[in-house]
Amino acid sequence: MLSLHIDNLAKSFPGLGSPVLLVDFLAIAAGERVAVTGGSGSGKSTFINVVTGLERPTSGKVVWSGEDVTRFSETARDRWRAEHVGLVMQDFHLFPGLSAVENVLLPARLARVADAALTARAHDLLKSVGLYRPDQKIETMSRGEMQRVAIARAVLRKPGVIVADEPTASLDLEAGEVVGRLLLDIAGETGSTLIVVSHDQRLIGRLDRRLTLGAGRIVADGRGEEVAA
């Protein structure tokens, strides 16, 4: 599990007068389960992109368990993310034409780390999320099943942090419930830090902490500590 410290973080885009994300300080403890909420354009996606190393901030530090990922090259950030971050997205981003287990293993295979043990773990993970046909093609699955495959993929390499971006937004109530529970269970089992961007109140309610973003600033914290922008 990983802890996160953010210092003086700013992310600007050319042509925009003010930064789209501005965080003076944020600390998330290892193993903590955090919800990130906010309206459209509040900076949630930018926050996720910056903390996962998908995007380099304009300034500031993003330190994961002592490693400032903003100093990494793009290739090093890719490698670090592959090793430490499990990503779950609203649109699943599964690859049609491949089976469930092939989708779970794809990033590991592309990173050339998919050995027999990891393959066995992929099969086990699919079972643990309630999928018993690992060779079923992705395009024949329901959306709920797809998201479960995406969760299995995210935790395959036992990441220190699981970051989920609206994981239940495109699912019906029942499937959303299952996926939310799975995320919490798996994060609990692997001891991963969990950061979930969501509008799903039931899911948010199960998490330890709630950060609310507005206009690129953290305007509220679930533990009652208001973070000044």
Partner: protein, 460 residues
């Protein structure tokens, strides 16, 4: 990675098939032009290989070679028969053979020649034996007749609507092995028979011929292409016959010289007569003789000696070289067209793939987000396009080979010349160059994917 690429190609199979076909067609066009042109050079060179020197009447060198060696039906002026007699006695000559043509049977040209030519250019017989009598014939390997078959020759070709020589029948005595030359489609008969069929060279008419032959040989090409639709040789010979008959008519006194003009001047053959291949100075006129000089020096001397105002001596190779130059120019034009089409296809492919990469930005961004290294993303995009283009190039080479073989087969059926269609080191080098170009081409969208920010791609 390969599984991912194959799955992607299966998903986008229609587009993939179009890309492969486009590349294959553009490649096949170039390959066909190259293979065909090379095969034509090789095939024609091999066909002319056994004939060192051709001598004919002054005129077109190209036509002389095309008619005498490639047996293309075309008008040739005649040269005096004394040339043949002189060459027969020339110590610098291993063998000399006259060729006379103009008749055909069932679409196959009849070529009057000598046993010396057949014996010297072909090794043995596939069936039967050499002709020994005036009414006997030897057929090439591609002639669809058997030993013992009867041949009733006709003037010119079937397409020209020539008439059959009444009462003239040859019997096939032998079939030659394949040579891969137009002579495979030829029916070879004694030159003596050809002369006799056309009313020339009869012993009892020697005096008449001596008297009129010179006049006959003066018949111009324009006159030769007469109103009967005969080839100039036939026409020339017939005019020679006309002159002879006119002479006879004059001697007979009062005989209508036009009454038998159309048909009676055609001679006939004595099928059982023995063949005399000792040619005297009074031999009838000839379109060409094929000469085998003893040495290279002799060949050059003979060529020089017989390149005078009345006769023309050529090495088939020199004529072919000039034809190849023309062929090379045509090939350059066709190759430029093929290269242009390949360039257009390449440009279209870059456009299509760059657009495709734009459409797949989210997928590529997701791959990066889930931890796929940038190099893997580059490799996926590069390999996917390279595979398509490489398959297209491979298919194009096979299609080009198949097309060239089909064209070559059709050409062989028509001409008898076997065109050796096949790949050489030059083609493999071209394949490597094309694959290299494909590798570079495929790198364009791959670099775009490599440089793409995953966050920006996911936002798209």
């Amino acid at each position: 990675m390969i599984r991912f690429i194959l799955a992607d190609l299966r998903r986008l199979w229609a587009g993939a098939v179009v890309v492969v076909l486009l590349v294959a067609l553009a490649t096949a066009l170039g390959v066909t032009v190259t293979l065909q042109e090379r095969a034509l050079r090789l095939g024609s060179a091999r066909a002319a290989d056994k004939f060192d020197l051709v001598i004919g009447a002054a005129g077109s060198e190209t036509q002389l070679v095309l008619s005498s060696i490639f047996l293309q039906p075309a008008p040739l002026p005649l040269m005096p028969g004394e040339v043949l007699a002189k060459l027969s006695k020339d110590p610098r000559v291993t063998w000399v053979a006259p060729v006379g043509f103009g008749d055909s049977f069932a679409g196959y040209p009849l070529v009057g020649t000598t046993r010396a030519l057949i014996g010297s250019t072909v090794s043995g017989f596939a069936a039967g034996r050499m002709f020994e009598r005036e009414g006997e014939a030897v057929i090439g390997a591609a002639v669809n007749l058997s030993v013992g078959a009867e041949i009733k020759p006709m003037h010119g070709t079937a397409q020209m609507g020539g008439e059959t020589h009444a009462g003239v029948v040859y019997h096939v005595t032998g079939k030659l092995p394949p040579t891969g030359t137009p002579w495979d489609r030829a029916i070879l008969v004694p030159i003596q028979a050809v002369w006799h069929v056309h009313g020339l060279g009869h012993d009892h008419e020697h005096e008449e011929e001596e008297h009129h032959e010179g006049e006959a040989l003066q018949v111009t090409q324009a006159a030769a292409a007469d109103e009967h639709g005969h080839t100039p040789l036939e026409a020339t010979r017939e005019h020679a016959g006309d002159l002879r008959h006119e002479g006879e008519a004059a001697e007979a006194g009062g005989h209508d010289e036009h009454a038998d003009e159309d048909h009676d001047h055609h001679g006939t053959i004595d099928a059982d007569a023995s063949i005399d291949e000792n040619f005297a100075a009074d031999a009838p006129g000839l379109p060409a003789v094929l000469v085998k000089p003893k040495t290279i020096a002799d060949a050059y001397k003979l060529r020089q000696e017989y390149r005078n105002g009345n006769t023309l001596a050529v090495f088939p190779g020199e004529v072919l070289t000039s034809l190849y130059a023309t062929l090379g120019d045509a090939r350059m034009v066709l190759s430029a067209v093929a290269a242009g089409s390949q360039g257009l296809v390449a440009a279209a492919l870059v456009l299509v793939t760059v657009t495709h990469i734009g459409q797949r930005r989210r997928q590529i961004g997701a791959l990066r987000a889930f931890g796929a290294p940038r190099l893997s993303v580059f490799a996926i995009v590069w390999l996917e396009l390279f595979l398509l283009v490489a398959v297209g190039i491979g298919l194009g080479f096979l299609t080009g080979l198949a097309a060239a073989r089909l064209i070559a087969d059709a050409f062989t059926v028509r001409s008898g010349i076997i065109l050796p269609v096949g790949f050489t080191g030059e083609d493999w080098r071209m394949a490597l160059i094309l694959l290299g170009a494909a590798a570079v081409l495929s790198a364009v969208p791959a670099i775009l994917a490599y440089r793409q920010s995953p966050a920006a791609a996911l936002r798209a």
